[in-house]
């Protein structure tokens, strides 16, 4: 569904992605792991057309992702993104945040959009927070609203950029729980995460990004338990035994 072919991305002289090849199939949950600064966020942002890339090709359902092309807006409605720092609209309530896309981008009528937004917020456990503003919600609640906002677009896939890294530890579980439920419904997901346990349990496949390339990839259980590449081994040792 999402395909990356020899993708190169530089910031000025600094080449961050040096030829990335990857494919995410429909209904698949893929976790992207790798050291800090290896370009995981950049990769996701390129897929969502928030960054331009210089060489190679990214496509969604065969349609090329090109920041400058008029098709980009439509592609973005089909591939949603959940950010590390939530990025909820602070001047709108939880309900309005979730309704915003359906109402103004998909141009659904207010009644239908409201009804579905309410359902989605209920589904992520926030039925009692519909009228709350982001500033009065905890990090975990904000991230669940953000997931509901992404779902409201009825996307074919969702990209998650370290959705739990900005959270206090006691709130990580509630967000992962929502993501686990999505995975069980076979939502196509590409998840950048340092939650190795989550990846092992939920992911179908894991990609290890380092030095601007996918160094290793494979079924989650296998790659995370028996990494073949030395750099993968090092990385996993450091993440799972931080001291």
């Amino acid at each position: 569904m999402i395909k990356l072919e020899d993708v190169h991305k530089s910031f000025a002289q600094h080449e961050v992605l040096k030829g990335v090849d990857a494919e995410i199939n429909k209904g698949e949950v893929v976790c992207l792991i790798g050291p800090s600064g290896s370009g995981k966020s950049t990769l996701l942002r390129c897929i969502n057309g928030l960054e331009a890339y210089q060489r190679g090709r990214i496509s969604v359902d065969g349609e090329t992702v090109d920041v400058g092309a008029p098709t980009i807006h439509d592609i973005r409605t089909r591939v949603s993104m959940v950010f590390q720092r939530f990025n909820l609209f602070p001047h709108r309530t939880a309900l309005e945040n979730v309704m915003e896309g359906p109402r103004y981008v998909l141009k659904e009528d207010a009644q239908a959009a409201r009804q579905r937004a309410t359902q989605l917020l209920t589904r992520v456990g926030l039925a009692d927070k519909l009228q709350s503003y982001p500033s009065s919600l905890s990090g975990g609640q904000q991230q669940r609203v953000a997931i509901a906002r992404a779902l409201a677009m009825q996307p074919e896939a969702i990209l998650f950029d370290e959705p739990t890294s900005a959270l206090d530890p006691e709130m990580v579980g509630e967000v992962l729980q929502v993501m686990r439920a999505l995975a069980e419904e076979h939502m196509t997901m590409l998840v950048v995460t340092h939650e190795i346990l989550f990846a092992r349990e939920v992911a179908d496949r894991v990609l290890f990004l380092d030095g601007g390339r996918i160094v290793e990839e494979g079924p989650a259980g296998e790659l995370l338990r028996h990494p073949k590449h030395e750099r993968t081994q090092d990385f996993l040792r450091r993440v799972t035994h931080p001291v």
Partner: protein, 218 residues
Amino acid sequence: MTGFFANAGIYLPILLKGVWLTIAVTFLALTLATLLGLVWALFRTSGIAWLAMATRVFVEFVRGIPILVVLFYIYFVMPEVGLDLTAFQAGVAGLALTYSCYIGETFRAGIEAVDRGQVEAAKSIGMKQPLMMRRVVLPQAFKIVVPPYSNNMVMLLKDSSQVSVISVAELTMQGKMLASSTFDNMTVFTLVALLYLCLTLPLNFVMRRVEIAMGKAQ
């Protein structure tokens, strides 16, 4: 002192005529400057390189010219190219043009102060630039912009006195004429100053309340 009050009673009705004109000039110029300023700001943040650059050059150009010169130019030079404006129209146009550039810069700074993450969130749900501006960026930028914009308003009100040089009979002009016919500089200009304060202080007060109200709203 009794002389002051006795004469003030005579001068005040004359000066009040100027006050109304000051209010009219300020109100019209502010409205135009705000609309134009918003246009400049949207151009500059449009992401369309040539449009942003052209606007930037224009704004820098106007900001580099004293208001007096802009007023002279519009009132005395424009008629030579066929644009014949009354003093009042020229005054409003000059103030509006100059302040649209100040206000535009204020708005631009406000737009750029909105968190990048907001733009990305808006884009990621498929919003195009105009919708994103309307629904996400501008509502947040307005809040940031209220204090510097209030400042622009008060400055514009005071700078409306500049249009007296092209003989618009606003408050300062009325004061000057009255003082030169009565030689009572002290009373006249004290009254003029007080009348300006009667305009600026309430304006400050109202804008402070707006600021507080917007701060409280989410």
